[in-house]
């Protein structure tokens, strides 16, 4: 009886496993690169918007409103980042780095939006959402679902989601400025005080009455609804 066959079969099977692992890893690397490239593109666009804002100086709100800040791009990036985080795990170094980049972009977008709001007297509805996915926030997933649904229903609603535990000084400064303590989930609508704990769809619509002023879409988009988790 030829026992070599057992060894050869094991080696080939192991090689197939190794190949599957390699291909999956390569595709994950491509994903990470894709997210990084998208983040960099958004970063350039944001910078462009800031420069445009400075150049316009004495306000051309019509021009600004014709080129809205990068909500769709940021949301798309968030969806991809969320998917990648689910694939690679929230403790993956690449994921953490991308989340930091994403959080910074969000903060920059948020600040730019505030400046435009002040000068153009517009009334955008923005929500800062703080979550944790380290297992200490069982309601964060559902809260994310509610915010994602609201964002899809009211395309003009701007939701900025932040991983509360992310080691990023700019984010920690924002947390300190808006006086968010460690109770999660937490969200801040506009300039109001933080609200803590899970809120259902009905409760959210009561807590943010200005949602009624926003246009709605009948069909929610088909993007993955996890980006605000």
């Amino acid at each position: 009886m030829n026992l070599n066959r057992y060894v050869v079969a094991f080696a080939i099977t192991a090689a197939i496993f190794g190949t599957a692992f390699y291909i999956a890893s390569r595709i994950d690397s491509t994903r990470v690169a894709d997210i990084r490239a998208t983040g960099e593109a958004i970063s350039i666009d944001l910078l462009s918007s800031e420069v445009q804002f400075e150049l316009l100086g004495n306000l051309d709100c019509e021009t600004l409103s014709a080129h809205p800040i990068l909500t769709d791009e940021l949301n798309g990036l968030a969806d991809r980042l969320s998917f990648t985080e689910n694939r690679l795990g929230s403790d993956n170094a690449e994921v953490i780095q991308l989340k930091k980049q994403y959080s910074l972009l969000e903060i920059k977008d948020y600040l730019l939006m505030q400046q435009i709001t002040a000068k153009c007297k517009t009334k955008p509805v923005a929500v800062l959402y703080f979550y944790s996915n380290t297992g200490d926030c069982p309601d964060c997933g559902r809260m994310g679902d509610v915010l994602t649904y609201l964002r899809q229903t009211y395309p003009e609603l701007r939701v900025y989601s932040f991983d509360y535990n992310l080691d990023l000084s700019a984010l920690q400064t924002l947390i300190a400025l808006r006086k968010v303590d460690g109770q999660l989930p937490a969200f801040i609508a506009g300039t109001r005080a933080p609200v803590y704990g899970f809120k259902s769809l009905d409760e959210m619509e009561k807590l943010i009455p200005e949602l009624k002023t926003l246009a709605t879409t009948t069909g929610a988009t088909t993007k993955a609804a996890t980006s605000t988790r």
Partner: protein
Amino acid sequence: MEVGAIGMYICLFMGLYFEVFLLISFLEKRPHAKTAAMPARYPSVAILVPCWNKAKTLGATMHSLLALEYPADRLSILIIDDGSTDGTLAAAQEFAGHAQVRILAKENEGSKFSALNFGLKHTDSELVGCLDADSFVAPDALIEMVKKFESDPNIMAVTPAMKVFEPRTLLERMQSVEYIFGVFYRKMFDNLSAINVLPGPFSFYRRDVFEKIGLFRHAHHTEDMEMAFRLHANRMVIANAHTAVVETKVPTTIGGLVRQRVRWSRGFLENSRDYYYMYFNPRFGHLGLFALPFGLLAFVGGLYTAAWGLYGIVKMLLARGIDFWVTGIPPQFHLPHFEWFYLDTSMLSFLVIAVTGLTLVAVVVGSRIAGSRISATSLVTYFALFGLVAPLWLARATWDTLRAKETGWLV
């Protein structure tokens, strides 16, 4: 990585290993094509046709047997009516005028083995074959069988290449691909001297077999499997004549299929218990080290995969239901949105693709060995359906076997 996924990786590794092992065996020794050579000698042959309520199909089975290209004076056909109540005996009488045909009748004793033994007592032919009365043989199938016996005097039993007779429904098409896969692995098991079942449709034995190791046994309603185990236990060689083609009718309903496979699966478990000493025993070669352990692993792996999949689906539905209840978000139905970024490109997915791909290769090789073509519809049906229905009989057979434990056998 969660524990459940680790189990899946183990199952996939075992599945891949099994297929790779068989493909290595195929590359080492490829099945030869059918030749026009004829046997040097025509031994006397008896074909036993046990029937229990086979009035509808017996005629076609008999016509295929009477069309066998074999000297009429060397071939006898014994119809054994096993206490049928549907007019099988009358259907058999239509062939009473043929000199080769003998018609026997007995009371039903609840299992096929008694009909086979009854027939064995009425013949003294050198070779004895069996054919279920819902199977149909190719005209040259017996010649091919005899040639196989002639090729090696140590061969004591031979199995054929089995195909599904005129598959039409989705369930039959699914089984047709499964049988073609069976043609492949049975031939590879032949290469490994590890054939572990002598199926009812057209398996043949030298008469010496019964004189040396005894007649068929009840064997948990799987006398064909037990006989193969017993032949191995007595160091007798079983071979496969892939050029001897037999077509068989298969269950046409899910219920019928599950009942048939529960019997087979339970037979495998019970006979494995009876012949436990063969497992991992190098004395029994690849049968003990490969064929039997992987047969059991396929059983466990199939059940595990089904349980893992079911658990995932139930968990997801529960979570969705609770989320819907708690969040108040109305149900949303989206058309699938394709974007490469969101494709499932996990290692698990690639391994599933690898297992599926190797299965496909085995089916293609099997179809070439059997000289038949498999339609795309049949292939799609097989890959889509088999994984859904197989757990039904695996679970039922396990359940039945465990219940039998209470009545004695593991106490």
